[in-house]
């Protein structure tokens, strides 16, 4: 079965005063129908830019899709104009953004903001759009939806706004939802509720979800497959159990070890491990492995030659010169 969305060799570059910033540099990601795929990585690794590139929501200029294909249901989205993409935006691919506090227009009612998407993509009257909007608000469990539909964003809490964002993204029943760190800006208790809601909606509508996050806990709970990104490249890709059970890339291992564990008793407790250093600046990046400067296992070849993604077991791919020899100290 062909995947719902297939990103092949995507390169998104930004021109800056200091040179070309290669935010996304040859990324391959595919999502199947009805699947939840998590994209993880540190801030600045290109997760968001990858997601935004799919519907060309990055600022262009300075941004530019320099190479690659984004195939959605057999159609390449890269050559499409913004007008052509408007037919796919919200209708086929819905977006949920990171900041519920700033992602809603403060001067329009939430009802208006949900309904405008319906009225853009479906032949509905104003009244029908309002009814559908109320229905969506009920679905995302906003109490008193009939009254709240006429409220403005500032009259909602962060969690409620994110529910509104979800209702908005789901309104046209898209086949794919891209959720860019939908819980990062929320309280921990609200985070769980929002993830549950997202899971619930996914099952109800049978859509695929691309969930971008940097929280490994979220990954473990929601994903079927995981893509780990580092410095604009995919470094590992695996089914979720494989990734947590048998992480191959040193970066993935580091990410997993940096999750606080409360299930270990006190004598097994160790200091939380952090990955030293920070993400490299992606203007004129080094030729070799981009993780090499922070890698405990770095060898000469790592600095000289870029490791390519290769399959280490069915469905499990990674990009590291260490080969498929098991590295010690997995989580």
């Amino acid at each position: 079965m062909a995947p719902l969305l297939e990103i092949k060799g995507l390169k998104t570059h930004f021109s800056t005063d200091d040179g070309i910033l290669q935010a996304v540099d040859g990324v391959d990601i595919s999502i199947n129908k009805g699947e939840t795929l998590c994209v993880v990585g540190e801030s600045g690794c290109g997760k968001t830019v990858t997601a935004m590139s799919i519907l060309k929501l990055i600022a262009m200029p300075p941004g530019r899709i320099a190479a690659g294909q984004i195939i959605f249901e057999g159609r390449d989205l890269v050559p499409l104009t913004s007008n052509q993409l408007d037919e796919i935006r919200a209708k086929e691919i819905g977006f949920i953004f990171q900041e519920p506090m700033t992602s809603l227009n403060p001067v329009l009612t939430i009802g208006e903001q949900i309904a405008e998407s319906l009225r853009r993509h479906e032949a509905v009257t104003k009244k029908q759009a309002l009814e559908r909007t109320i229905e969506m608000l009920k679905l995302v469990q906003i109490p008193n939806a009939e009254g709240r539909v006429h409220n403005y964003p500032h009259q909602f809490s962060g969690g409620m706004r994110q529910r509104v964002m979800i209702a908005m993204a789901l309104a046209c029943k898209p086949k794919l939802i891209i959720a860019d760190e939908p819980t990062t800006a929320l309280d921990v208790t609200i985070q769980a509720q929002i993830l549950d809601l997202l899971q619930d909606m996914k099952e109800r509508f049978g859509m695929a979800v691309m969930l971008i996050t940097h929280a490994m806990g979220v990954v473990a709970e929601t994903a079927q497959r995981v893509v780990v990104m580092y410095a604009g490249k995919v470094v590992e890709e695996a089914p979720v159990d494989d990734l947590f059970g048998d992480p191959r890339h040193p970066y993935t291992q580091g990410l997993i070890r940096s999750i606080p564990r409360i299930d270990l008793d006190s004598e097994h407790k160790t200091r939380l491990e952090a990955i030293g250093g920070s993400v490299p600046i992606l203007i004129n990046p080094p030729v070799g492995c981009r993780f090499a400067p922070r890698c405990k296992f770095a060898m000469n070849v790592c600095i000289e030659k870029e490791p390519l993604l290769r399959e280490v077991s069915p469905g499990h791919r990674m990009a590291c010169h260490l080969g498929d020899t098991q590295l010690g100290g997995a989580a």
């Binding site: 929501l57 007008n83 408007d86 919200a90 953004f97 227009n105 403060p106 001067v107 998407s117």
Partner: protein, 319 residues
């Protein structure tokens, strides 16, 4: 809503009172008064002068004179112009329409230029259109109105002889010809004032738009597939207009100030030129009244701006 407007009007009363005190004191401190010319007139004996001064209370202490003026104002008595030999309110009502006509048209012209140009320039920053608009705007607000005014007169009246350069209120025509003549004679002053306003407003609209255009909710709107025009008009413009309304309201005093200069250049018999001539002839009651009318207009425009905020931004509650 009406309650909000009423409350704002009530708040305007103390500010207008404050303004009137300041104006009154400043004018009282200024040298000369309506009778100073009598002092140099050999036909008026000193005792008549003194009697007149006593009769009009000109030698009373300042607070008594202020209360006297305030009391008269509250009773609708704006005073008497000693120079024009008529009541001040009649004089102002004669002059005000010309000023409002010119300033109003100039502001409308400025908005009609600034909003579309600023919005379009912001959607394509650093494009050729944007660069040209920016350069022209920069030239526009670097040139003072007294310079462009004279330049316009030189080109369009003296050289080309297309437009009259003296504005007149007693046009010898009726019906449609009167209307056309009114428009024709207003073209230059409105253009001079309007283009000057449009220049700074364009740059402000552009930067307000650029501030909003990169915000998250604009990306949200784009992600809904709404199309560029809807995103710009519905999501960006409405938000960008909030600071623009502030600017326009805050600029009103400067606009009136600019209008005084423009009225002088084009000989428009508006209240700006009335103010200048009354200052020159020491016609204190008129100076007081005109400055007070300007103050009222500024307060009024601020009130309009406040009401507009409430309409544009639901976060400001009109209670």
């Amino acid at each position: 809503m009406s309650q909000y407007v009423l409350r704002r009007l009530l708040i305007a009363i103390p500010s207008l009172l404050g303004i009137s005190v300041v104006l009154f004191v400043v004018l009282a401190l200024a040298p000369g008064d309506p009778f100073s010319e009598l002092a140099t007139n050999p036909n008026v004996p000193p005792e008549v002068q003194a009697a007149l001064r006593a009769k009009f209370g000109l030698d009373d202490p300042i607070h008594l004179r202020y209360l006297h003026w305030l009391n008269a104002m509250l009773h609708g008595d704006w005073g008497f112009s000693f120079v024009s030999r008529m009541n001040v309110d009649t004089l102002i009502l004669q002059r005000l329409p010309a000023t409002l006509y010119v300033i109003g048209s100039a502001q409308i012209l400025a908005l009609l230029i600034a909003i579309p140009v600023g919005v379009y320039a912001a959607t394509k920053p650093y494009s050729l259109f944007d660069q040209i608009a920016n350069t022209l705007a920069f030239v526009g607000f670097s040139l003072p109105t007294f310079f462009t005014g004279i330049l316009f007169i030189l080109i369009f009246s003296v050289t080309l002889d297309w437009l009259p350069f003296v504005y007149t209120t007693d046009i010898k025509a009726t019906g449609i010809h009167w209307v056309l003549e009114m428009i024709r004679q207003a073209i230059m002053p409105v253009a001079v004032l309007g283009l000057f306003q449009a220049a700074s407003m364009t740059r402000f609209v552009r930067s307000a738009m650029l501030d909003v255009i990169r915000l998250d909710y604009v990306t949200t709107a784009r992600a809904k597939g709404l199309g560029q025009a809807t995103v710009i008009v519905k999501h960006v413009m409405r938000n960008a207009m909030i600071p623009v309304v502030t600017l326009i309201a805050l600029q009103m005093p400067a606009v009136f100030g600019g209008a005084i200069v423009t009225e002088q250049i084009f000989r428009i018999p508006g209240i700006g030129s009335l103010l200048i001539s009354s200052i020159l002839s020491n016609d204190t009651p008129v100076v007081m009244a005109v400055t007070f009318v300007f103050a009222c207009l500024v307060v009024l425009f601020n009130l309009i701006a406040d009401v507009l905020y409430g309409w544009l931004d639901p976060r400001i509650s009109l209670r």
